[in-house]
Symmetry: C2
Subunit: 333 residues, 2 copies
Amino acid sequence: MNPPTVEDVARAAGVSRQTVSNVLNAPQRVRPETRQRVEAAIEQLGYRPNRVAQSLRAATSRMIGYRIEPMHPHALGSMHDRLLHALAEAGRAADHHLLLFTADDPDDEVTNVDALHRAGAIDGVMIYGIQSDDPRPPALRQLRIPFAAFGRTGADAHAWVDIDNAAGTAAAVEHLVTRGHRRIAFLGYPEGVAVGDRRAEGWRTTLDKHGLLDGSRHLDLRGEDSLANGARLAEALLEHPTPPTAVVAATDTLAAGVLRTVRQRHARLAVVGFDDTPTAGALDLSSVRQPIEAVGHAMIRALLGPAVSVAQDEPAGQLLAPELIVRASSALH
Amino acid sequence: MNPPTVEDVARAAGVSRQTVSNVLNAPQRVRPETRQRVEAAIEQLGYRPNRVAQSLRAATSRMIGYRIEPMHPHALGSMHDRLLHALAEAGRAADHHLLLFTADDPDDEVTNVDALHRAGAIDGVMIYGIQSDDPRPPALRQLRIPFAAFGRTGADAHAWVDIDNAAGTAAAVEHLVTRGHRRIAFLGYPEGVAVGDRRAEGWRTTLDKHGLLDGSRHLDLRGEDSLANGARLAEALLEHPTPPTAVVAATDTLAAGVLRTVRQRHARLAVVGFDDTPTAGALDLSSVRQPIEAVGHAMIRALLGPAVSVAQDEPAGQLLAPELIVRASSALH
DNA sequence: TTGTAGGCGTTATCAC
DNA sequence: GTGATAACGCCTACAA
């Protein structure tokens, strides 16, 4: 009735526990015929090594913590779905699983991770949504808890994986320039948000490269990441004496707001969003897509690969290229 | 350097391991002054019971499996985000965590759950997206693996939680009838999908109740759950000799397709979707919202509450009421 | 090549 | 009230 143990297998195969263990962990040390007998017994009994016992013995849980956040009310879709699946899939190959936990804020997150880690429930943790002065990297570092981050601050004293945000908006601008646009606006987060700043930077440098920055410098608007705000900012843009003919938005949420205004006013304004959320497809919105599956694999590698990386002081960073998905919102103008 | 154990605490407090254990698990059996001494030592050393050891000892992992599926390409947003957070939050209160795993299909899911369960990594599993002849409930039942399902088949020989899908579309129809609509169409999944059938049923019975069914019976269209299909079906509806003035869609995806057609043709057609995905907000689409947080709590209760429920043959089901969110897509006509 | 012994950290049982 | 003993299932020396 209870799941079989090594003991049971050993008895069934007429050998000792250790031989069974050897068959599993050091097959070459066991005579072929004995091995086959043991393997037959394993098969027949449906034996599976008990992970908990393995963990206790090895002082390793093969579990990775991941904080699941409540969905942001304004968001059009988070990365959770895709990132979680990518991480789970990548972890599977390394025989690791994700353990989900919740937290009230970044400090609470560290507290919970620490508790989980000290309890032996997780070997390390994945963090994301890194802010400029994020308390988590230094705290985890000091607690000597292995972690990998999706995103970076700039002072990257830890393992991180990020997408090249600047390259994303740069691709958007290139695309719009190719289609003949000369005045291209940018809608983004308030300054100081690392991700937002990088996306703004890609827009700025690319315009500059084409000698279009002077004509667009006044078209750089920032604000809260909500649909309503995107709509409002779009109105402001359209009422400008020299309105833009295209907009690069830092998020699909802002871009969706722009589209709403465009449709209400029957205005002509090309729009490119960022994140390629499901909504982008529904709105026929061009958007910059993040290679989340690759991010997941890179994060697992970053966390599990160098087993001693915690002690080392060499940070391992990896930058992945996003991809522009062109749809009607930027192709019909 | 290593995390402290009971042994360390005992030494620090000048008692034996068992006394420490007693302080934690049976405080009343320990003299107050001894207890305080032990508690002080625990505090000072920052001791946390090792979960892995507890699991081994108790033959219980306090882990619940959850299959994370890749996002459906057509979907506008899955329930993963909200459901996962709800489950994690509810599980937290019961000192349980979620363990994520992947699988290729339902059969593979059962295989993986079985492996995880036999390995002692999970105590039970949450399943969702139940189909009419879903292989998972009977298989899990036979394997004696505790589980709770989000959704039901009709033959509910297991613990389930579901939202009242029929009540959702019924509310949508009531709303539209109140606003004066007489010909109300339904767009849904192909027949045979349990969820789709219930949503269709709510539409039908409510129309019937208002004596409107005869005028709308021909307005019942089914097909693949994609935006493109929603748009196509909407065109078919609009070209009908007696076109509907309103549509109830079984999903936001289909509803988004309808909206696309409506906007392209500048048609007048009220639309209500289902699921209240983030996209619904972006499109100003009225939609039926599922109380996912409540679902999460109910599922945890269903799984953890009756510790012996596996053996019992009395199924425990719970039906939760959805809520209609009214937006411009149905309010302006 | 195979078997024996001990311990990972916890807790329940049973003496004292 | 407190402490010794044993056991959960596994693995890694070590011995035979």
